[in-house]
Amino acid sequence: MSAESSPSPPGAPSVRATPREPLLSLRGISKSFGAVAALTDVALDVAAGEVVALVGDNGAGKSTLVKVLSGVHRPDAGTVRFDGRAVTVPSPGAAQRLGIATVFQDLALCENLNVVENLFLGREMRRLRLDEVAMEVRSRALLGELSAKIPSVRTPVAALSGGQRQTVAIARSLLGDPKVIILDEPTAALGVAQTAEVLRLIERLRERGLGILMVSHDMADVRAVADTVAVLRLGRNNGVFDAVGTTAADLVAAITGATDDLVVRRPGRSRGGSAAGTAEATREGEAS
């Protein structure tokens, strides 16, 4: 959480000096899919009680990085340190046992199972005689906290709306007792109230000392909750910014690699008062 408001030069992975050993620390992570180099020599740190936002263009490699951290993909090269120890994350189960919980971009829910079953999948209460009652009570409480709008916790996930599913996926990551939570575009499908709830939740989790890595395309959300913003571009580090004192324009420039604001500022709206450009304008506004 040390302040370093200017981006480090693109290309050279920038590693900020943190006051204490970060909870999660990646160095030199590379991952290719055939000819596509999704990640090249990526470094990233997440400290306890810190919210790190991971931003980048579509296809920049954010989800691939998330999947490496959560044991879905094995990196081709690089090291992962967790809680001070070098670890390998051979499987999603291993990640969970380490204390890394993940909300995937594609949610990874089992469509044929209902909400409670999905929430507790792999960590059912009373393995040999499922405690359905306790699980249902806990599910309702959890979903209530996220102001989820779900018809019934016994609905199969296949029958839920996009936002309802995302809420379930987020709720699932909160079960267990993770030390790090990784959220890949957690609010993409959420309504206004639910988004607010999730952001509030992230802050509460930070206060409880968890490390949080959040992928998002929404600069407003990022700047609202993140302490640090790491930018990926074409699979490489493209700077780490302190959330305080960085404008949305700076971030967008790092994301797109544009030196000017061409991408961001579109010509004014052709008719009517409100220009389409205001979408980004509002997002950029009010840099604190």
Binding site: P92, Q96, E117, E132
Partner: protein, 385 residues
């Protein structure tokens, strides 16, 4: 609970309706069909295929297939006969060895699947051929081995029936247990502030079970009664039902079948689940094969051949198990095998030429499943599209 009922267990009612239709039609065509004697036979004949179908349900649930259940059942029969009759080992040692061998076979399937990545269709096709070979080799030039009629195995499969008082006691205990567990769960839910089944509903359900099973037992007791082997099969069905619906392992099976990658990401040990499913399937196939041999009082080269494979898989599918994984239940095997055996037994009574028998079997099968499909469909059109 009630949600589960709506989504899952009620899903068996259409198959049950199909079964009833078959029974009525068959009874009209030949009044012997619903006689106590014939139903007693039907119950016993269903057991071997039914047990094999239980195993098939397990592999289908996790999205795999096992084409070798027939061969493995035949191999089980052969191993049992060779060890028990030729080598003179005690029956339980022989049966245990056969089951262990089957377990190893299932485990090997899983290893090949995991390590080499061959689709289970091909692995078990190899098994189908390979273990048929082993079976023939074991039985050697004799080709057929008789199991002694007075051995425990054969009497168990052929002649042991529950005494009436025991059968009625079982029925009463079953109905009481259904009510007790239901009431306990409902109470727990109510205390936790969740919706729960009403006491009337629970009582009604238990009484219905009591009446249904009681009548069945009374009717079967007019002939030889309820076979121990059938009770054993029912116990297996209930045990598998418990595992599938009330343990975290069963939950994982549905999850792996419904979305293997999603289950993996949720931390489910996918490989362990798949391995267990293959092992369960092979072991149950072996058990079914041994009981089939016991019923026949012989293991021979054609044990497990013919349509054992197709019948077992078909029973699972007819009962509502999906070939694509993630949907099915232990009761699917029970109902499916009853459908298949009822058709077969009913047509046997009709004295048809083979040509007509095949045609009618195909037609009736399709009809029975259509009923189920139509019911499911009307439900789906109100539910998921």
């Amino acid at each position: 609970m009630s949600g589960r009922l709506r989504g899952g267990e009620l899903g068996l009612l259409p198959v049950l309706a199909g079964l009833v239709v078959i029974w009525v039609v068959m009874q009209i065509l030949n009044p012997v069909f619903l006689s106590s004697a014939n139903l007693t036979n039907l119950a016993l004949e269903s057991v071997p295929s039914g047990i094999i179908a239980l195993g098939v349900v397990c592999v289908l649930l996790v999205g795999q297939i096992d084409l070798s259940v027939g061969s493995v059942s035949g191999l089980g029969a052969a191993v049992l006969a060779v060890l028990f009759v030729d080598r003179g080992l005690p029956a339980w040692v022989a049966a245990g060895a056969a089951l262990a061998l089957a377990g190893v076979i299932g485990w090997l399937y899983a290893q090949v699947h995991h390590r080499i990545g061959v689709p289970s269709f091909v692995i078990t096709l190899g098994g189908l051929l390979g273990f048929l070979g082993v079976q023939l080799w074991l039985l050697g030039p004799k080709g057929s081995i008789n199991l002694p009629f007075d051995s425990g195995l054969v009497t168990f499969a052929q002649l042991q029936f529950l005494p009436p008082w025991a059968a009625y006691t079982l029925v009463v205990v079953g109905a009481a247990a259904l009510y007790a567990t239901g009431a306990a769960r409902a109470g727990e839910r109510r205390r936790a502030g969740l919706d729960a089944a009403s006491r009337q509903f629970l009582a009604g359900r238990s009484l219905a079970l009591l009446a249904g099973l009681g009548a069945a037992v009374w009717y079967l007791n007019r002939d030889r009664g309820v076979g121990w082997m059938f009770v054993f099969f029912l116990a297996l069905v209930l045990a598998l039902h418990y595992v599938l619906s009330r343990t975290s392992f069963g939950r994982s099976m549905y999850a792996v079948g419904g979305g293997r990658e999603a289950a993996r990401r949720a931390g489910v040990k996918v490989r362990a689940v798949l391995t267990t499913a293959f092992v369960l399937c092979a072991t149950l196939a072996c058990l079914g094969g041994m009981l089939s041999a016991a019923r026949l009082a012989a293991a021979n080269q054609s044990s497990g051949g013919g349509d054992v494979n197709l019948n077992a898989i078909a029973a699972a599918v007819i009962g509502g198990t999906s070939l694509f994984g993630g949907r099915g239940s232990a009761f699917a095997a029970l109902l499916g095998v009853l459908v298949i055996q009822s058709i077969s037994s009913g047509l046997t009574l009709l004295n048809l030429d083979s040509a007509y028998r095949f045609m009618v079997t195909g037609g009736v099968l399709l009809l029975a499943v259509s009923l189920d499909a139509v019911a499911r469909r009307s439900r789906v059109s109100h539910g998921r599209a």
